[in-house]
C-alpha cells in the first residue's frame, strides 16, 4: 500500500464543526473504565483528553491502615494482570528495610514466577491489541494458552489471578513437586503459540498496515514523559532495570533487552511497541530455562525467614522492579510501626497513559484505539 506520509493541512478559513465524542467509561476497547474525551474533525482526532479515576480504589489510603503482610493482597490488585510482579518490589522493599537476606532458591523461584507472569501479561497485551484491530481469534488462542501459566500459579498459591504468594522473607507455600516440568511444558507451549499468533496476526499484512507509522513516540519525548517498559523500549531506549540495575539475581542470566528498531516504519510506532512485547516473551523463556537449570535442588523451608510480626525500622525506601508494563516502584515511608506511614506507588500505567494525548493527535479514530492498545494500560494501576 505504499509508504504513508503525514501532510499538514491548514484548514484556516474553512468553517467546519468539530465533534466532541465521549469514549468510555464503557467502551469495548478502552481496556477497562478509561474515559477519553475526543475531539474529532471528521474521522481525525484533533484532541484527546483522558479522564481517569473511574477505578480509584483508594489503595494508598487503605495501606496506611494495614500491616505490611496485609498490604500484599492489595498490591496484587493494582496491576491485576501481573500480580506476581507487583508483589515483588513491595516485598523486596520491606525486606530491605528489615535487612532480611532471603535464600538463593527462593530468589530463583521468584524470578521464574515473575518471568512467567511477564509472559502471561504480554500474552494479554498482544491479545487485546489484536482484538482492538478486529482480530478476535488470536485473542482466544492466547487466552487459552495463558491458562497453563495460571494453572501453575494455582498449584503454587491457590489463586488463579491474585496470588498473595510472595511474602516478606519468603513465600506463602513451597512450590509443587512438578514445578520444573510444568515450567518447561509452559515454555514449549508459549513458543508454539507465539509461532501460531505470528502467522495469524503479527505477520498479517492488514495488521501491519494498521499499526505501522501511527502513534509515533520519539525517544526524547518518551523519556520526558517518564515512560518505561515496552513503551520506552519501543522507542529505542534500552532501559531495563533487570540489566541497568540488576536486582535479585538477574545479573546471572544471559538475555537481551529488546528495543524497537523501526523495522516496519518509523521508530517508536505502535508496531515497535507491540513487537517488543512479542519478542520479550522469548527472552523470558530464556531466563526461565536458565533459572531452572541453575536452581539449587535441596529443599528450603520457604517460610523459615517469614517474621511473625513485621515491624520495620524508621526509614524511607524507594524499591523498584522491571514489571511487564515498565518500572513499578513503591516509595515506602516507615515510621517504625507495623503499618506503613505512606505507600506511594509509581504506577507504570498511570505514567505511560499520560503520553497518550501527545501521540494520538492527527490520526484517525481507529488509530486512537490502536495507540491506546499499544500502550497496554491496566486501569487498576492507573487509578489505584
Amino acid at each position: 500500500m505504499g509508504q504513508r506520509k503525514t501532510i499538514e493541512i491548514d484548514y484556516g478559513a474553512v468553517d467546519t464543526d468539530r465533534m466532541r465524542l465521549n469514549m468510555g467509561p464503557q467502551h469495548p476497547s478502552t481496556h477497562g473504565v478509561l474515559r477519553l474525551e475526543v475531539e474529532l474533525e471528521g474521522e481525525i482526532v484533533t484532541e484527546v483528553v483522558p479522564h481517569i479515576g473511574y477505578l480509584h480504589r483508594c489503595f494508598e489510603k487503605t495501606c496506611e491502615f494495614m500491616t505490611y503482610p496485609q498490604v500484599i493482597p492489595y498490591v496484587d490488585r493494582l496491576d491485576y494482570i501481573s500480580s506476581m510482579n507487583n508483589e515483588w518490589p513491595f516485598v523486596m522493599g520491606v525486606e530491605k528495610l528489615l535487612g532480611i537476606q532471603i535464600p538463593e532458591k527462593i530468589e530463583y523461584i521468584r524470578v521464574i514466577l515473575a518471568e512467567l507472569n511477564r509472559i502471561a501479561n504480554h500474552q494479554i497485551a498482544v491479545a487485546t491489541f489484536g482484538m482492538d484491530s478486529g482480530a478476535f481469534t488470536p485473542f482466544l488462542y492466547l487466552f487459552r494458552d495463558r491458562e497453563m501459566i495460571l494453572d501453575l500459579f494455582e498449584k503454587c498459591s491457590g489463586g488463579r489471578l491474585l496470588y498473595n504468594y510472595f511474602w516478606v522473607g519468603g513465600l506463602q507455600h513451597d512450590i509443587p513437586p512438578t514445578f520444573k516440568e510444568d515450567c518447561l511444558a509452559i515454555i514449549k507451549k508459549v513458543r508454539e503459540t507465539n509461532a501460531e499468533v505470528n502467522n495469524l496476526l503479527i505477520k498479517n499484512k492488514i495488521f501491519i498496515e494498521r499499526i505501522t507509522n501511527i502513534g509515533i513516540l520519539p525517544a526524547d519525548v518518551a523519556i520526558n514523559f517518564g515512560c518505561s517498559g515496552p513503551v520506552l523500549r519501543g522507542s529505542g531506549v534500552p532501559y531495563d532495570l533487570r540489566k541497568d540495575e540488576p536486582y535479585s539475581i538477574y545479573d546471572r542470566f544471559d538475555f537481551n533487552v529488546i528495543v524497537g528498531e523501526g523495522a516496519m516504519g518509523t521508530l517508536g510506532d505502535c508496531w515497535d511497541r507491540n513487537i517488543v512485547r512479542v519478542n520479550e516473551m522469548e527472552e523470558s523463556c530464556k531466563i526461565i530455562e536458565q533459572a531452572i537449570a541453575q536452581m539449587p535442588d535441596e529443599a528450603v523451608d520457604v517460610r523459615a525467614l517469614v517474621p511473625k510480626r513485621v515491624k520495620t525500622p524508621k526509614g524511607e525506601i524507594y524499591c523498584k522492579t522491571e514489571n511487564p508494563k515498565g518500572e513499578l516502584g513503591f516509595y515506602i515511608v516507615s515510621d517504625g510501626s507495623t503499618q506503613p506511614y505512606r505507600m506511594r506507588t509509581r504506577a507504570t500505567s498511570f505514567i505511560n497513559l499520560s503520553v497518550l494525548p501527545e501521540i494520538s493527535k492527527g490520526y484517525m479514530i481507529s488509530d486512537l484505539i490502536m495507540i491506546l492498545g499499544s500502550i497496554d494500560i491496566v486501569l487498576g494501576e492507573v487509578d489505584r
Binding site: 465524542l21 484491530s133 495488521f207 494498521r210 481507529s366
Partner: protein, 348 residues
C-alpha cells in the same frame, strides 16, 4: 418462461402470490442456518465448542435468539427522529429481500424473470445504504452517525469496481438476463465464466482476467455487506455497534437479518456470474431442475462459509486504507480486466 409455478397454476394472481412467497420460504430458514453457522464456525475456528445447551449441540440457538428478540423492549430514544428511526430497518430489510425476486434458483424457478435482472439486483441492493444512513442519522448518537457515514463512503466506493465487474460479464454474455448468463455457462465447469466462459480453447490466455474480476467482485461483496475485513461501519472495538447502536429488539433483528440476507444475495450473484449459477459442474449429468436448486444453493453457501471464515481470521482495515484499495487498486485492475474480457467477447 422458465418458471414451474406459472406452468402449474397459469398466469394469474394466485401464481404471483405463490411466486412471491417461495423465496421467503428459503430466506427464513436460511437466516437461521447462517446464524448457527456463524456461531459454530466461529467456535471451530477458535478452538471451542460454541452453543451447546440449546437443543442437540446447540442447533436451536438461532431459534432461541429469535424468540428472545421478539420479546425485547423496543426502545426509541427520546431525541431520535422517530419516523426515520422506525423506518430505517424496514427499508434495509426490503432492499435485502427484494433482490430475491430476480435470483434464479433453478432453470425452472425465478420469481421475476427480468431481462435486466443484473441491473435490478445491483440497483435494489443499494437500498441498504439508505437504510443505514437513515438509521445512523436518526438515532441521534454520535457513534451511529460515524458508522453511517463510514458505511456510505465505503459502499458507494465499492460499488464502482463491482459495477465494472458486472459490466464486464454482461458485455461478455451479451445480456443482462441472469438466466441467459447462466445458460451460456452450461456444459461442464470448464465453461464457467471463472474459466473463461464458453469461448474456444484459446480462451486460456484470458482466464487470469476472469479470475481477477472474480476476486474483485468477491472483495467488493465483502465490503458491500460490511463483513470483515471491511466491517468498519460497525467496527465493534471502535464505534460500539455503528449505525445500529441505538436499535434494540425486533428492529435490531431486522438489521441483523438484512445483513445475512444480503450476504446470500452477493454470494448468489458471484455464483451466477462466475460459477455457472444452477448449472451442474458435470454438464448435463445431474442437471435436473430440482438438483439445480441444490447446486445453486451449495455454491452460494460455500461463499457464505468463506465469508464467515474470513470474519474470524482477519483484522479490520482502516477507512483510508479501505478507500485506497477501492480507488487505487481495485478500480484500475477491474478496468484492465474489463478491457481484456471485452476483447475476448469480440473475438469469440
Amino acid at each position: 418462461m422458465g418458471n414451474f409455478v406459472y406452468d402449474l397454476l397459469g398466469n394469474n394472481l394466485l401464481a404471483y402470490i405463490v411466486v412471491a412467497i417461495v423465496p421467503l420460504l428459503w430466506v427464513l430458514p436460511y437466516a437461521l442456518i447462517a446464524i448457527l453457522g456463524e456461531l459454530k464456525i466461529a467456535s471451530w475456528v477458535q478452538d471451542r465448542l460454541g452453543p451447546m445447551r440449546t437443543g442437540w449441540k446447540g442447533v436451536l440457538q438461532p431459534l432461541a435468539e429469535v424468540i428472545k428478540l421478539l420479546q425485547k423492549e423496543d426502545i426509541t430514544p427520546a431525541n431520535a427522529n422517530k419516523p426515520l428511526f422506525n423506518l430505517a430497518p424496514f427499508i434495509m430489510f426490503t432492499g435485502a429481500y427484494a433482490t430475491y425476486a430476480a435470483i434464479p434458483f433453478s432453470s425452472k424457478f425465478i420469481a421475476a424473470d427480468l431481462n435486466i435482472g443484473l441491473y435490478y439486483i445491483f440497483s435494489i441492493s443499494a437500498f441498504a445504504i439508505i437504510g443505514i444512513v437513515m438509521g445512523g442519522w436518526a438515532s441521534n448518537n454520535k457513534y451511529s452517525v460515524l458508522g453511517a457515514l463510514r458505511a456510505v463512503s465505503q459502499m458507494i466506493s465499492y460499488e464502482i469496481p463491482i459495477a465494472v465487474t458486472l459490466l464486464a460479464i454482461a458485455a461478455y454474455s451479451g445480456s443482462l438476463d441472469m438466466q441467459e448468463i447462466i445458460r451460456q455457462q452450461g456444459g461442464g465447469f470448464w465453461n464457467w465464466n471463472l474459466f473463461g466462459g464458453n469461448a474456444p480453447y484459446w480462451k486460456i490466455i484470458f482466464i487470469p482476467f476472469f479470475v481477477g474480476l472474480f476476486v474483485i467482485y468477491f472483495v467488493g461483496s465483502l465490503a458491500e455487506t460490511n463483513r470483515v475485513p471491511f466491517d468498519i461501519p460497525e467496527g465493534e472495538s471502535e464505534i460500539i455497534a455503528g449505525y445500529h447502536t441505538e436499535y434494540s429488539g425486533m428492529k435490531f433483528a431486522m438489521f441483523f437479518f438484512a445483513e445475512y440476507a444480503s450476504m446470500f444475495t452477493v454470494s448468489a450473484i458471484i455464483t451466477i456470474l462466475f460459477l455457472g449459477g444452477w448449472q451442474s459442474p458435470f454438464g448435463d449429468f445431474l442437471n435436473h431442475p430440482l438438483l439445480q436448486v441444490f447446486w445453486f444453493i451449495a455454491k452460494a453457501m460455500s461463499f457464505i462459509f468463506i465469508q464467515i471464515w474470513l470474519r474470524w481470521t482477519l483484522p479490520r482495515l482502516r477507512v483510508d486504507q479501505l478507500m485506497h484499495i477501492s480507488w487505487k487498486v481495485m478500480l484500475p485492475i477491474s478496468l484492465v480486466c474489463f478491457f481484456a474480457v471485452a476483447i475476448l467477447a469480440m473475438l469469440k
